[in-house]
Symmetry: C2
Subunit: 222 residues, 2 copies
C-alpha cells in the first residue's frame, strides 16, 4: 500500500461513496475526509479527481438528476400509473417529470440541501428544464411563458420537497406539557390540516395536486 499511480478508482466511485454517506448519515456528514476514508484513501488523494468539495457536490447533483428528463419522453404510463395508459400528452409529461424529480430528491436524505446549495445549471439540470419548456411550448404557450412555466414547475417541486424533508428531518420534538385545559390555538387552520402531511404518500399526492393546479393556471383551456 505504498503511494504511486494506482488509478484503482474513478470519479463515479467517489460519487457513489459520497451518496452512501449522504444516505446513511445526512448531508452534513458528507465530508472530503469521510468519503476518502470510505474508499481507503487519504483526503488529499480526492483532489486528484475533484478540484474541490463543491465540484464533488456538483457531480453528485448531476448523478442525482440523471434520467429525470427521460421521464417525460418515454411513455408516462409507468410513472403516472393511475391515469389512463393512453398516450403521453404534454400534461402527462409535465406531471411525470415533476414526479420523477421529486422521487429522486426524496430517495436520498439530504438531497434537497445538496441541490439547494449549488447553482443547478449542470447538463442534466438543463435537460430537465429543456424538457419542461418543450411541454409547455407544445401546449401552445409563447416561448417566454413556456420558460416561465417550466421554471415554475421546477421551483414548485424543489420547494415542496424542501419543506417536506425539512419537516421529516426534524429532531425529537419536546412533548407538549400535559395540560388539563386546552388553550385556544393561534393556528387552528394549520392544525386542522396536520393530517395532510404525515407520510410520504400524502406528500407525493400534495405535490401532484400543486403541479396540476399550476398547470391548470398556466393553460386554462381544458
Amino acid at each position: 500500500m505504498k503511494p504511486g499511480p494506482r488509478r484503482s478508482i474513478s470519479q463515479a466511485d467517489i460519487v457513489d461513496a459520497a451518496f452512501e454517506i449522504l444516505e446513511e448519515k445526512g448531508f452534513a456528514a458528507v465530508s472530503v475526509r469521510g468519503v476518502a476514508a470510505a474508499l481507503g484513501l487519504t483526503p488529499t488523494a480526492l483532489y486528484t479527481y475533484f478540484e474541490s468539495k463543491s465540484a464533488l457536490q456538483a457531480a453528485m447533483v448531476e448523478q442525482l438528476l440523471a434520467g429525470v428528463a427521460d421521464a417525460g419522453t418515454i411513455g408516462p404510463a409507468d410513472e403516472v400509473s393511475d391515469q389512463d395508459a393512453s398516450a403521453g400528452t404534454w400534461r402527462d409529461r409535465v406531471l411525470a417529470l415533476a414526479v420523477a424529480l421529486r422521487e429522486r430528491l426524496v430517495a436520498h436524505a439530504g438531497a434537497v440541501v445538496l441541490i439547494t446549495s449549488g447553482p443547478l445549471d449542470g447538463a442534466r439540470a438543463r435537460d430537465l428544464e429543456e424538457a419542461l419548456i418543450a411541454c409547455f411550448a407544445e401546449a401552445g404557450l409563447d416561448s417566454d411563458d413556456a420558460a416561465r412555466a417550466g421554471r415554475a414547475v421546477r421551483a414548485h417541486v424543489v420547494g415542496a420537497v424542501a419543506l417536506e424533508t425539512a419537516r421529516r428531518a426534524a429532531p425529537e420534538q419536546m412533548p407538549e406539557p400535559a395540560t388539563l385545559w386546552r388553550e385556544p390555538s393561534r393556528h387552528p387552520l394549520v392544525e386542522a390540516s396536520a393530517h395532510l402531511a404525515l407520510d410520504g404518500d400524502a406528500a407525493a399526492d400534495s405535490l401532484r395536486w400543486g403541479v396540476e393546479r399550476l398547470i391548470d393556471g398556466v393553460v386554462p383551456a381544458r
Copy 2:
C-alpha cells in the same frame, strides 16, 4: 474583563450578529465561534443563550419570518403597488404574502439555505401558513384544499427563491472557449429564455407570475 455574570447581551443581540455575518460572508461563515468573536465573547459563552447552533439558526429563521404574515392583513396596496389601490381581496393578500416572503428571503444572502436546513415549524412560520390558508378558505375552498393551496404557495416561493439565489451565488463561470463554429445547442429553449433570469426584478416578476398562475389553477372561477 474578567468572567462573571454580566448579562451584557441578549438572545436578540446574538441573532443580529449572526445575520450580519450571514449577509457579509454567506451561510457557511455563520459559525458559533465567529458570532461569539463578533460579540467579543468566547464560543462557549453562547451556549448559555442557545442550546446548540441549530437552536440559533431556528431563532434566525423566526426573526427572518417576523412580520411576513402581516403583509396579508394590512392593506396590500403598499406591497402590490401596480394593482388598483383597492381593497384587499383574498387574491391580493396571497400575492402580498408571497412577495413579502420572497423579499425577506432575498434580503439576506444565504437565507434560503438557512430556511431549507431546518423544519420551518416555528411560530412565525405557522403564522404565515395560517394566513395563507385563511385566504384560500375565504375563496371558498374546503379546508383540505385550502391547506394544500397554502402549502403550495409556500413551497412555490421557497423553491423559486432557492433556484434564484443559487444561480446568483454561482462561482466565476469559466468563459466559453472561443470557437469559430457554433455547435448546435442541446438546450435551445433554455438558452432562448436566458434573458428572463438576469436581474432580481425579473426574478420577482417570475415569482409573481408563477403564484398568480397557481392561484388561477386553484380557484378557476374568475
